[in-house]
């Protein structure tokens, strides 16, 4: 026999966990590359399209909120971008998450590979598209009135927590959507609702005080306040907001992984 390959047992109940995921890292890479390639096939501007949507959105909100509503916030574009870009990341990933298992049903029913790779590749795909926008934000950062302060160093950690939170939600939604195929429409409505009850385009303290406690239940409010604290005001919000955000992440990831591991195998029969 020619050069033998490294031995990777593919199937069987005994194989699971991180090691088998690592063995499939090239699959993840090929998968994400495929998705990006297919998405921008024959598009003259290619990858740049992933930037145009958020740029137009930002431009419109800046116009509406600083010229029409006459917001008096200094550096409003930066204020807006800090919240909006991270909202976009969340809404794109969760909006797509419902379809991931169904879209790959043909694959999942014919070949065994760690099922977790399906939602992971969907998240990675969206993060890659989003990277261009966040890189642009950091390039424009000094021109938008952003200042370099040590708090910025917390950004990667917070982003990681935010992604983990989003990933947990993705896992739950992708499983639920197999059982309830109309979940996607509900998710779209909830996302629209969440966008407006999260202080992204407006200021947190504009929320009437008696409603503020209600708003504060949303994990997205916590994360938007943290991201804006880091990128706009240059200071982290109070410790209990940080603690709440971390707690949400732990909860979402734990429940998500539990639900997915528990049901992913039996879901194959219902796809």
């Amino acid at each position: 026999m020619a050069k033998t390959l490294e031995h990777i047992p593919l199937t069987g109940p005994s194989v699971s966990g991180l090691r088998s995921l690592l063995a499939y890292s090239d699959m993840l890479r090929n998968f994400v590359r495929k998705d990006i390639q297919v998405r921008y096939q024959g598009a003259a501007l290619g990858f740049l399209w992933s930037l145009i949507n958020p740029l137009v959105m930002i431009g419109l909100y800046v116009f509406v909120f600083s010229d029409v509503f006459k917001s008096n916030l200094p550096n409003y574009p930066l204020y807006l971008m800090a919240g909006l870009l991270h909202w976009n990341l969340f809404s794109q990933i969760t909006g797509q998450s419902c379809d991931t298992l169904l879209a790959n049903a043909g694959l999942v029913k014919k070949i065994y590979f760690p099922r977790l790779l399906v939602p992971i590749s969907s998240v990675v795909f969206n993060v890659v598209l989003w990277l261009l926008a966040i890189v642009l934000l950091f390039i424009l950062y000094p021109f938008l009135g952003g200042k370099l302060h040590p708090v910025l160093m917390a950004y990667p950690v917070v982003l990681l927590f935010f992604l983990a939170f989003t990933f947990g939600i993705t896992l739950i939604l992708s499983v639920l959507n197999v059982l309830f195929r109309d979940l996607k429409h509900l998710v779209d409505v909830i996302l629209l609702f969440l966008f407006w009850v999260t202080p992204i385009v407006y200021q947190y303290h504009r929320i009437p005080p008696h409603l503020r406690q209600l708003f504060a239940v949303s994990p997205l409010v916590d994360y938007v306040l943290i991201f804006r604290g880091i990128l706009y005001s240059g200071q982290l919000p109070s410790w209990h907001i940080l603690a709440m955000a971390a707690a949400w992440t732990v909860a979402s990831l734990t429940i998500g992984l539990f639900v997915f591991n528990r049901y992913a195998d039996s879901l194959v029969e219902r796809l």
Partner: protein, 246 residues
């Protein structure tokens, strides 16, 4: 030579029960309406696809799973592949198991033949660097050198099958799980497929072949398991070993 134990597939008392969802409702609306209207409610029925199936496949052995439509042989193949979990019992597989349940699974029509080779092989757990080493062999076997850089949506169905088959037989699996498919293309190409499988078998590959075609099983396998209604009704070996030798 790899030091694998001799039993590469052990199927032990495997049973598989499906729940048939009559009038299946997969929507929130349906579930809510179902609370009030019987017509919208899902009715469940248990269906025993496999009951207490046991057999062993040894290294280099080729076993044929025979039976009529609905006898559970394809379900059994999916259980061995790890795609379906058995309701009870267990399956132990050792080594690389390549399910050839459907050719070209995971091919994306917009990608080129080359890109699909890497994508498809990685679904079987292959690293890109390992695929690179055998890429030329795959292309040569498929006879698609001239078309490998065009999207597979432009392939004829024969070209598509040839590429998919070439990938599968160049991954050098320890166990090949095949559902009726052991050769594709025209007569000459089929001959080539048979030769390739024969040479893989000489190197110790095992085959589990699902088929309702007795002659196909006789041609390729040295033993068989016959299923009926999800149970093993007959096992045996072919004394006159006609496995493809040339």
């Amino acid at each position: 030579m790899r030091s694998l134990p001799d039993e590469v597939v052990q199927v032990e008392h495997v049973s598989k029960e499906f729940i048939l969802h009559h009038n299946r409702v997969d929507s929130l609306k349906g579930k809510v309406v179902g609370l009030f209207k019987d017509r919208w409610r899902t009715h469940h029925e248990h269906f025993q696809a496999l009951s207490d199936v046991s057999f062993t496949v040894r290294r280099g052995e080729a076993i044929g799973l025979m039976g009529r439509n609905g006898s559970g042989k394809s379900t059994l193949l999916q259980v061995i592949a790890g795609i379906l979990k058995p309701t009870s019992g267990r399956v132990i597989t050792r080594g690389r198991v390549a399910p050839l349940i459907e050719l070209g699974v995971g091919f994306h029509p917009e990608l080129t033949g080359e890109e699909n080779v890497y994508l498809n092989a990685s679904l079987y757990g292959f690293r890109n660097k390992d695929v690179r080493g055998r890429f030329d062999d795959i292309v040569e076997f498929s006879e698609l050198a001239h078309f490998i850089d065009t999207p597979v949506k432009n392939y004829s169905s024969g070209m598509y099958m040839r590429l998919a088959f070439a990938i599968a037989v160049h991954l050098e699996p320890d166990v090949l799980l095949a559902d009726e498919i052991l050769a594709v293309g025209d007569a000459a190409f089929q001959e080539k497929c048979h030769d390739r499988i024969a040479s893989l078998r000489r190197n110790g590959m095992s085959i589990v072949l699902v088929s309702h075609n007795e002659q196909q099983v006789r041609d390729f396998c040295n033993s068989f398991v016959r299923l009926d209604g999800g149970r093993v009704v007959e096992t045996g070996t072919f004394r006159t070993k006609t496995a493809h030798t040339r």
